[in-house]
Amino acid sequence: MIDYIVAAITALLLLVGALFALAAAIGLVRLPDLYTRMHSASKAGTVGSGLLLLAAGLYSQDPAILARAVAGFIFFLLTAPVSAHLLAKAAHRSGYDLDALSVRDDIRDR
C-alpha cells in the first residue's frame, strides 16, 4: 500500500515539475523583453527543476537521499533570485531598455 502512495506522489511531482519547466520555456519564448522573460524563467524554472529533484528524492525512500534532494532544492531557491537580480541589474545598467509596452521604470524615473 505504501508503495502505491509513494509511486502516485512521485508520478504527480514528475508531471507537475515537467509542466512547470515547460511553462517557463513557453514564457521564455513568448514574452516581449528581457525582464519579463526573466520573471518567467527564474521563478517557474526553479520550481520545475526543484519539484523533479524532490520526486527523485522521494522515490528512493531513503532519508539520506531525500535530505540531499531537499538541500539541492533549497540551494536552487537561494541562488536563483541572486543570479536573476544580478543579471537584471547589469542589463538595465548597461542600457538594455524595457519593452515599449512597459508602463513604469523606477530606476530611470520614467
Binding site: 508503495d3 502505491y4 509513494v6 509511486a7 502516485a8 512521485t10 508520478a11 504527480l12 514528475l14 508531471l15 515539475g17 515537467a18 509542466l19 519547466a21 515547460l22 517557463a24 520555456a25 513557453i26 521564455l28 519564448v29 528581457l34 522573460r37 526573466m38 524563467a41 527564474s42 524554472g45 526553479t46 520545475g48 527543476s49 523533479l52 529533484l53 520526486a55 527523485a56 528524492g57 522515490y59 528512493s60 531513503d62 537521499i65 540531499r68 534532494a69 538541500a71 539541492g72 540551494f75 536552487f76 541562488t79 541572486v82 543570479s83 544580478l86 543579471l87 541589474k89 547589469a90 542589463a91 545598467r93 548597461s94 542600457g95 538594455y96
Partner: protein
C-alpha cells in the same frame, strides 16, 4: 493490477517528453535571442532543464547518485550566470557612442564600469 513501478515508468516517460519540448523552446531562445542578456537567461534556463532531466533519469534508472550530479550542475550554472552578468556589467553601456566618451561617457563608464 498495475504495479507501482509501472505508474512511475509512465509518468517519467511523459516527463521526459515534456522536458524535451521545454529544451527545444529554450534552445530556440538561445539561438534567436536578440540581445546577449537574453541568451544568458536562456542558458540559465537550459541548466535548470538539464537538472530536471537528470532527476527524471535518477527516478527512471534508480541510481540515486544522479542527484549529487544535479546539485553540482546547479552550482556550476549559478557561477556561470554570475560570471556572465559581471561580463555584461564590465562591457559598459551599449547606448553611449564611442565619440561621446570624452564628455559624457566618463560618468556613464563609472556607472557601468569595471570598478564594481
Amino acid at each position: 493490477m498495475i504495479t507501482p513501478a509501472a505508474i512511475v515508468a509512465v509518468a517519467s516517460s511523459a516527463a521526459l517528453v515534456i522536458l524535451g519540448l521545454a529544451l527545444i523552446l529554450a534552445v530556440w531562445r538561445v539561438v534567436a535571442g536578440p540581445t546577449l542578456p537574453d541568451r544568458i537567461l536562456a542558458l540559465d534556463m537550459l541548466t535548470g532543464i538539464a537538472i530536471g532531466f537528470i532527476a527524471v533519469i535518477a527516478v527512471k534508472t534508480g541510481f540515486s547518485l544522479y542527484i549529487d550530479i544535479a546539485i553540482s550542475l546547479g552550482l556550476v550554472g549559478f557561477l556561470a550566470t554570475v560570471a556572465f552578468a559581471r561580463f555584461v556589467l564590465s562591457r559598459g553601456n551599449i547606448t553611449s557612442k564611442p565619440s561621446a566618451s570624452a564628455t559624457n561617457g566618463n560618468t556613464q563608464q563609472r556607472a557601468g564600469g569595471k570598478k564594481r
